[in-house]
């Protein structure tokens, strides 16, 4: 309602001015043009080219190639890595978020963990792989983990490093939203701690937890730099195979494989992020 009111008052001065002027949406044209060229156009190219063969002719049969065992293998690899790292990251992140939330709300620990989460959640790329390489790689300082180069365990651990902080940032508001009164009410009715979590706290937090897990899944799915610096000889996941397809010398015959894989990723991301948005909306119901 407030929005509608503002619009009306805003519109008045321009009408009263009696000056012939361009409609006001013209002011957004530079922005829309920029986003159109550098975001929408490339995405459109990916979608369109996925349905074409390398000669430029339409080939809707391309889509069946997604069922090709080789291509399916990369998606399964991505899936394994994302499920492993996002589930572990979400569980550990939720535990950490609870530990942070149950402390002094203005204490040093909370501030330290919140600002480091903001920092470490952004930490990724090549340098993260280096850090783990010198910690538990072949010449590791701590020890040499024999599974360091095993897929998905070694790279999964590295992904978990940035996923835990992300989870803390996403999940903490939900835990902070749990009202003391709910716990008191259930205790007054004679519930045990287990019953409280089973019937009150757990169901309240579940949408936020699942939403957070999906967000971590998406973050793991789109990461490329870290896994490329971890192991660049073998392609395990879709992003690596896209880069191989893009840079391979075989030539044109491969170009559309990259588009096809990219389209597959767009579809997967769309599903995951829609799920995330729905769960967030569900979770927000209790966070007033």
């Amino acid at each position: 309602m407030a929005v509608a009111a503002t619009t009306k008052t805003d519109a008045r001065p321009s009408r009263a001015g009696h000056r012939l002027s361009a409609p006001s949406w013209v002011g957004t044209v530079p922005f829309l043009a920029y986003v159109g060229i550098f975001l929408l156009w490339p995405t459109g190219i990916v979608v369109v080219d996925a349905f074409k063969n390398p000669n430029g002719a339409w080939a809707f049969s391309n889509l069946t190639e997604l069922g090709n065992p080789l291509i399916r293998g990369y998606f399964i690899g991505s899936f394994k890595l994302c499920v492993f790292s996002s589930v572990v990251g979400a569980v550990v992140g939720a535990i950490l978020a609870y530990a942070v939330a149950s402390g002094d709300p203005d204490g040093v620990v909370r501030r330290l963990y919140l600002s480091s989460s903001g920092v470490l959640g952004q930490f990724g790329g090549v340098t993260l792989a280096f850090a783990f390489l010198v910690l538990i790689g072949p010449v590791g300082l701590l020890f040499h983990a024999s599974w360091y180069f095993d897929f998905p365990w070694g790279i999964g651990l590295i992904y978990i490093y940035f996923e835990i902080p992300l989870m803390v940032l996403v999940f903490l508001p939900a835990i902070d939203g749990l009202k003391v009164q709910w716990r008191e009410a259930s205790e007054n009715l004679g519930s045990s701690a287990w019953q409280y979590w089973r019937y009150v706290g757990g169901p309240l937090l579940m949408p936020a937890f699942l939403g957070g897990t999906l967000l971590l899944f998406a973050a793991a799915l789109s990461a490329y730099a870290t896994i490329q610096a971890w192991e660049n000889q073998v392609a395990y996941v879709v992003p690596q195979q896209i880069s191989t397809a893009l840079s391979s010398e075989v030539g044109l015959s491969n170009v559309n494989v990259a588009d096809l894989l990219a389209l597959g990723m767009v579809i997967l991301m769309a599903i995951v992020m829609t799920g995330y948005a729905l769960l967030q909306r569900r979770a927000a119901r209790w966070l007033r």
């Binding site: 805003d10 922005f31 986003v35 010198v134 910690l135 701590l142 660049n232 992003p239 893009l246």
Partner: protein
């Protein structure tokens, strides 16, 4: 200020409850918290310490030396550009990306908020879209577009065109938070009735009130550009991350690898810490 925040954020466990049953639970909870903090604290800090230790490694294993840190300025290997030039390019890219992002986003967002409210949702959607389209997907579609750009310039600085897109979601959220915190309509009506042009309203009235949001947007954009690898690498440009990657391929144990990584990390950490502290200071005052 602290007291106000403390009251408004009362956590589930610290409210007044019967003392007797509270004491035992509190002890258990505290033990749980300290275990969690210690274990995860180690998990977070150890890889960074390992990186730091390796950057100070001497010629022989187990010795200490600052050679790797001095090499940052002079390192050069055959077949790849000198490290320092990659650092310069990345810093220049960060500056250009910041300027373009702000020039594109700040006026548009204010204008939409003031005059074209019905576009608000669309702009938000477009700005957050890059979060759901992975860089690796964008790069596939960018090939043809960058082919055209390379007709005009081969410089790595041309990466800024796409880095602006990568920075959009972060910049947008920072700016939107600042914009929501001020009464845009009243400010602009006041300025307009005193005879200000729309340009003056946007540049001299509203933008200065968004200082904090603009600072946040700048810091987040910097962090994004400094850590970017995927697009630069696959479009065959060189920035800092690509350079580090190539060094690691040629000489996997070069000390300069670890010193530069650590320096870059430290730089990004400082940027983001400034962000989190500045953000809190603002919230505290308001």
């Amino acid at each position: 200020m602290a007291a106000v925040t403390a009251l408004s954020e009362t956590p589930a466990t610290s409210a007044g409850r019967p003392r007797g049953m509270q004491a035992r639970r509190r002890r258990r909870l505290n033990a749980f918290r300290y275990v969690v903090f210690t274990v995860l604290g180690l998990f977070f800090i150890l890889p960074l310490l390992a990186l730091l230790r390796f950057s100070l490694e001497g010629d022989k294993l187990g010795t200490w030396s600052a050679t790797a840190w001095r090499q940052i300025a002079s390192y050069q290997n055959t077949g790849i550009p000198p490290l320092l030039s990659a650092i310069e390019i990345t810093l220049e890219l960060a500056i250009i990306t910041c300027v373009v992002t702000l020039a594109l986003l700040v006026p548009t967002m204010i204008w939409v908020r003031l005059r074209v409210r019905w576009l608000d949702r669309t702009i938000e959607f477009l700005c957050l879209l890059p979060l759901t389209i992975p860089a690796i997907v964008l790069v596939v579609g960018l090939g043809p577009i960058y082919n055209k750009i390379q007709h005009f310039s081969l410089s790595s600085l041309m990466l800024f065109w796409i880095y602006v897109i990568l920075a959009l979601p972060y910049a947008y959220r920072a700016l939107a938070a600042a914009l929501n915190a001020i009464d845009v309509t009243t400010l602009s009506e006041a300025a307009r009735s005193l005879g200000a042009s729309w340009f003056t309203v946007i540049v001299r009235v509203i933008a200065p009130n968004m200082r904090q949001g603009i600072l946040n947007a700048v810091l987040l954009t910097w962090a994004t550009v400094l850590g970017e690898f995927t697009i630069a690498y696959l479009l065959l440009y060189t920035n800092l991350q690509v350079e580090l990657y190539s060094i690691s391929r040629n000489t996997p144990n070069a000390g300069v690898l670890f010193s530069t990584s650590f320096a870059a990390l430290l730089f990004a950490f400082v940027l983001l810490l400034i962000l989190s502290y500045a953000g809190r200071a603002r919230r505290g005052r308001g």
